[in-house]
Amino acid sequence: MRRRFDLRSVLIALAAPVLAILFSVVVISVVLLAVGDNPFDVFSKMIEYGTQPRTEVLILNSATIYYFSAVAVAIGFKMNLFNIGVDGQYRLAAFAAAVVGGSINLPAPLHVLVILVTAVLVGAMWAGIAAVLRAYRGVSEVISTIMLNFIATGVIAYLLQPGRLAVEVQGSNNIGTEPIPPSGQVPGMAIIPGTESKVYGLAILAVLVGFGYWFLLNRTRFGFDLRATGMSESAAVSSGVDIKRMIVAAMLLSGAVAGLVGMPQLLGSSYSYSLDFPAGLGFTGIAIALLGRNNAVGIAFGALLWGFLDNSAQILDLEGVPKEIVTIMQGTIVLSVVIAYELVRRYRLREQQRLTGQATAEPTGIGPGADEREGAPA
């Protein structure tokens, strides 16, 4: 009986995102039709292109980056902390990591480790400012992280100048940090058959981080404290959680993971932090964390979906369809997924209450206390 209930709820849970995506496909089709494009063509082109081996690599690589970002955001969300600052945290972290990585020379694994640790520490430190302000001065983390994003921009711009921490490349209008030598690079993995393009080596780290996130949250005392604080701060306090410490810990953790966002790109492809280092990934992370319901596996699906949309959009331009349609699609998906989830959640709640109601309504002519008083309590 319970198995059936579970199976059904699993089906319901899966139905929600699928239905939502279908719904957004319908919405986009309407938009496309309105401007005279054939939606069927557009979608089949995207799918055809998106399933080519090379594109699959691109999707996996984008998803890896998005995954870090979304997990970083999700850690905060689990505690009702809204870390809008992942953006600044990862940029500053990647910059610092690039500077450190480019200025030292160590045996390969150690070199990579030093770079990653730098990134994690700097990300955590930048988030830590918001954490301390929130915990000890009551400054809303929403404001402080917004401000810290802008401040990170200024700090990097100041330091990324010739004569400071940047090196110039002859003939280039770009400017970046000293390139990281091969010992600090992380080779890609040729795991998709049919293409030479490689998946970021750090994709493995993303998987580990995802597992670690799940494990920490669901299997450890610390994770329990964190979730409890997110669900009810007052209940967490009376259960013995030190809220201030928890805020700082969660924010540091979030920042630490944020520090990794730039690493696949830095260690797997560009090897230096330059002007065109991708920005804005923190905001993508917010959307994906929400799409994946802050759940380790959900986020992975969200990241892959996002990666698919972003990358397969390339083909649209070639087909003469404005690729902004994909951005509209992403927005629609986020919105319809959460609406679908909400409807399913309500359905489930009603179901639970129905069952609880039945349990409560079981024949009990006499209050439970009466039984207790008569029989000897254990």
Binding site: G171, D276, P278
Partner: protein
């Protein structure tokens, strides 16, 4: 649109007039940005008018990675587009990889010379030289001995503009004050899109006695011109194209004394032409004063007063008597 069939690169070397397809990958903003990308588009359009080819234009989106840029170029290359032009230095890393993958395709990149390859033309500009001339004009036109420079985003490319401008101004008036301000810091590229900030900054400079303001700030420049216009008196100097003639600036054109012109259109046109002529350009092509790749505009009659001196400097720069540094 074209089909993305043809698995490999096109035959390439023997060019028959009607049988090639030109691919162009824009930086963020794309065709119609009234600035740098638009200039490239103009060059392409002009070439298409004269030669017979198909074209395909793709555009970058904000926050993308090198891998995505690479894929864009690769899509064009596998689609049989040849030659392919990448607009903007952001494509450098991507093009380096893709040009090696498709040795039979001709590529060009604008604003970058960080690498060279046998099938790549690096189309770069001596922005500092053009800026030198408008700097000289600014100093000559200034009555207060105080002029301003507004850069859209603080990048080395924009710093070249600043460097040339300052040197040109000092060459005329060694004691001149040059106020310098960049609107935003990378990776915040909104400095190219924020006329309100451009206006505020220009007003600040004008309040601080500047009477000529050079706005190397893309779309934010219009705000600077609004400020100059409102203050009635100060001049503005435009950038990239002859902004005096831009329809979108028609209302303020009378205060646009001149513009530093960067002939991206010429560069694109010439590259396509070289391909069309069967000898695609390769290597670093510097578009400087000598090649008329940069210059200043004279469409505002008011600038006539100062052209003599500017042309004098121009000769000296071309002859090598004056070397303009690209570093502020």
């Amino acid at each position: 649109g074209g089909d993305s069939d043809g698995g490999g690169a096109s035959a390439g070397s023997s060019v028959s007039p009607a049988s090639y397809k030109v691919g162009l990958a824009y930086d963020i903003g794309g065709r119609g940005d009234q600035s740098f990308n638009d200039a490239a588009a103009r060059g392409l359009d002009q070439a298409q008018k004269e030669f017979n080819f198909e074209k395909k234009e793709l555009e970058a989106s904000a926050g993308e990675t090198d891998a995505q840029k690479e894929e864009r170029l690769r899509l064009l290359a596998t689609g049989g587009y040849n030659p392919i032009i990448a607009v903007g230095f952001a494509y450098a890393t991507a093009l380096k990889a893709v040009s090696a993958e498709f040795p039979d395709t001709s590529f060009a990149i604008i604003d970058d010379a960080s690498f060279t390859a046998a099938n790549v033309a690096n189309l770069v500009f001596a922005e500092e030289q053009g800026s030198f001339l408008v700097g000289a004009i600014a100093a000559s036109a200034s009555k207060t001995g105080n002029i301003g420079f507004i850069g859209g985003v603080n990048t080395p490319l924009l710093q070249k503009f600043e460097a040339g401008y300052t040197q040109g101004a000092k060459a005329v008036n060694a004691d001149i004050t040059v106020q310098v301000k960049y609107l935003t810091q990378p990776p915040d590229f909104t400095g190219f899109n924020d006329p309100a900030k451009g206006k505020t900054t220009a007003q600040g400079m004008i309040d601080n006695k500047a009477d000529v303001v050079y706005a190397a700030a893309g779309g934010s420049g219009s705000g600077a011109f609004e400020a100059a216009k409102a203050a009635a008196g100060p001049w503005g100097i435009g950038v990239d194209s002859d902004q005096y003639k831009l329809p979108s600036l028609a209302k303020v054109k009378d205060i646009i004394l001149t513009s530093m012109i960067k002939r991206v259109d010429v560069a694109v046109y010439q590259f396509v032409k070289s391909y069309n002529d069967g000898a695609p350009a390769t290597g670093i092509q510097t578009f400087d004063l000598a090649k008329e790749g940069v210059g200043y505009s004279t469409s505002n009659p008011a600038v006539a007063e100062y052209t003599a001196k500017a042309d004098e400097f121009k000769e000296k720069i071309i002859s090598g008597e004056i070397t303009v540094s690209a570093k502020p």
